[in-house]
């Protein structure tokens, strides 16, 4: 039993690539599509998710022995909602412009499946250290997922990266990339690429063994 359980470090690594929330679990698609028109927005969203996921995971892990099976989802939602509200107010106070740009998507973290999934799958069963590293791993994975899509969209759509001009004057912005269709196209292509690389690896792995 103990051997099958991944160590805290393994949990951290797993979240980043092997179990990447965006590319492998396909969770949290709403912010993935909606706030990836620019890197700044994507990274703010990732930061908010990191804060909420970390706090929710740690708290859930601390109270895991007190959870009643039929009330656990209620407790998760309550916990997540509280931390999301804190994050939302914080953004409104200290990053006002960004908070307006993200609009309803910050409050919508409450229903982001990544967080409730980690509470259910990991934090409600694992000690605090494991839950914390799991949260960090998944958040970094989410941030990488968002960053990959946002980079493509911002560079092609506005010729900028993090608001800095990276393309020359000759560049003509692809307007569609900052619009919703651009999000779907980019996600589809990147997801396809990720799967293609993954399946190549799996085949090689099968041949070797």
């Amino acid at each position: 039993m103990a051997k099958d359980e991944p160590t805290p470090l393994e949990r951290f690594i797993r979240g980043i690539l092997p179990e990447n929330p965006v590319y492998r679990q396909l969770l949290g698609m709403c912010p993935t599509l909606a706030v990836t028109a620019s890197m700044k927005a994507a990274m703010t969203m990732s930061g908010a998710v990191l804060f909420v996921l970390f706090c929710a995971n740690v708290l859930t892990s601390l109270i895991r022995h007190l959870l009643k099976p039929h009330l656990r989802i209620l407790v998760f939602t309550l916990t997540i909602a509280a931390f999301v509200t804190i994050a939302d107010r914080f953004l409104a106070a200290y990053m006002y412009e960004m908070s307006k740009q993200l609009g309803p998507y910050v409050p919508l973290i409450i229903v982001n499946c990544i967080i409730i999934c980690r509470c259910e799958v990991c934090a409600s069963k694992q000690p605090v250290l494991t839950a914390a590293t799991d949260a960090l791993g998944q958040s970094v994975g989410f941030a990488l997922g968002l960053a990959s899509i946002a980079s493509v969209r911002e560079i092609l759509g506005s010729g900028e990266w993090f608001g800095l001009a990276v393309m020359g004057d000759w560049w003509i912005d692809w307007g569609i990339m900052i619009l919703p269709p651009g999000a779907f196209i980019t996600l589809g292509l990147l997801l396809g690429t990720a799967n293609w690389i993954g399946s190549g690896r799996a085949k090689r792995g099968a041949r070797e063994s």
Binding site: L71, V75, T79, A81, A82, T85, R89, A92, A93
Partner: protein
């Protein structure tokens, strides 16, 4: 042995039931305490966050308001917050410090939450010069266009403030956003209310006295009195003769304590209701707010002020004191009847005591 068990069973069964009930009761607490405790803890934490951050958030909003003044009022480069008879507004100043317009804040219910607007008007308060949505939580992609679609907001610029704005569908001048008619309507409504409020504040006028003519036909003005703790106006005709009374009455509505304020008109003898209008209310949009409809308010005219009004769900009988309630707004309709009844009874009591003003 069989005997003893059979003899005991009913007793044991009853005791068992009681015990089970006790157990269930304690179970609810035993199971729910964590949720309750967490809810309490989070509520306290959120309250602390709100207290410590709300000042900053308000400041952010105000800075944004001041930053938008240049867009809202042509020629303005700076703004100054002022208080006009209790209403907060921003003076829009040009480079020379001359006032070139005003920026007013308006807020009201939208489709999903309160919408906050900034409305620019010219210095004479004749024309709208700009509109900006400060805060909203309308549906992304539909209602959110009230802010995202700059062309839509631009429609408001140049509209005269004399006539209330409305969407084209309702016979107004503003093209509504496709699939977001309610959001569009709400914005028009908020603009209308804010401008009306601002104009009244600017004039510093007694808005209640002005409306005496609405509820007492033929009245040209009102003279303010206090009867039985209520504000009452003598309704005066052109020659200054008393032709009726207008009572300001507040009472509980669907939205809460004293949320409905009515102006009740009575004839000179205070025997019959001469008219009724709603000064303010907080009823549900599109349901309870129908108490403001003239067609419904007209029912009250001519009713006997000595007997209580009776709300009814059927068609009122001729000559009775019955008022037909608005379907979907029964509570609001009943509240209006009750407020009128209480006010007329109180007024009669007041007139009884103070000889001299008695009609």
């Amino acid at each position: 042995m069989d005997d003893t068990e059979a003899g005991r069973r009913p007793d044991a069964g009853a005791a068992g039931k009681v015990m089970q009930k006790e157990k269930q009761k304690s179970n609810y607490l035993a199971q729910g305490w964590l949720v309750l405790l967490l809810a309490g803890g989070f509520a306290a934490a959120l309250a602390a966050v709100q207290v410590s951050l709300s000042g900053r958030i308000e400041q952010n909003k105000e800075n944004e308001t001041l930053g938008r003044i240049g867009e809202l009022v042509p020629g303005a480069i700076a703004g100054r917050k002022t208080d006009i008879n209790g209403m907060t507004a921003y003076e829009a100043l040009d480079a020379g410090g001359k006032r070139v317009g005003w920026v007013i804040k308006g807020s009201g219910q939208g489709y999903s939450d309160v919408i906050e607007l900034l409305i620019g008007v010219d210095a004479e308060v004749q024309k709208i010069t700009g509109l900006y949505v400060l805060e909203h939580k309308e549906t992304p992609g539909l209602g959110s266009k009230i802010r995202d679609d700059a062309d839509w907001a631009r429609q408001f610029a140049g509209k005269p403030v004399a006539e209330p704005l409305g969407v084209v569908k309702d016979g107004g001048q503003i093209a509504s956003i496709a699939s977001a008619t309610i959001s569009s309507r709400s914005v028009c409504q908020i603009v209308n209310n804010a401008i009306k409020q601002f104009k009244n504040a600017m004039a510093g006028r007694d808005t209640e006295a002005e409306r005496v003519g609405d509820v007492v036909p033929g009245a040209a003005g009102g003279r303010k009195l206090s009867v039985a703790g209520m504000t009452v106006y003598e309704a005066l005709d052109e020659s200054g003769a008393i032709i009726g009374w207008a009572v300001v009455a507040a009472g509980d509505g669907y939205a809460g304590e004293d949320s409905i304020v009515l102006l009740i008109g009575l004839d000179a003898a205070a025997e019959k209701i001469a008219g009724l209008t709603v000064l303010s209310h907080g009823e549900t949009p599109r349901l309870g707010d129908r108490i403001c409809e003239q067609a419904w308010l007209r029912q009250f005219k001519g009713k006997d002020a000595n007997r209580p009004l009776k709300p009814t769900k059927s068609v009122p009988r001729a000559g009775s004191n019955e008022i037909e309630v608005i379907s979907g707004a029964t509570v609001s309709s009943r509240s209006v009847c009750r407020i009128v009844n209480e006010a007329t009874a109180r007024l009669k009591g007041g007139f009884g005591k103070t000889t001299g003003t008695a009609p």
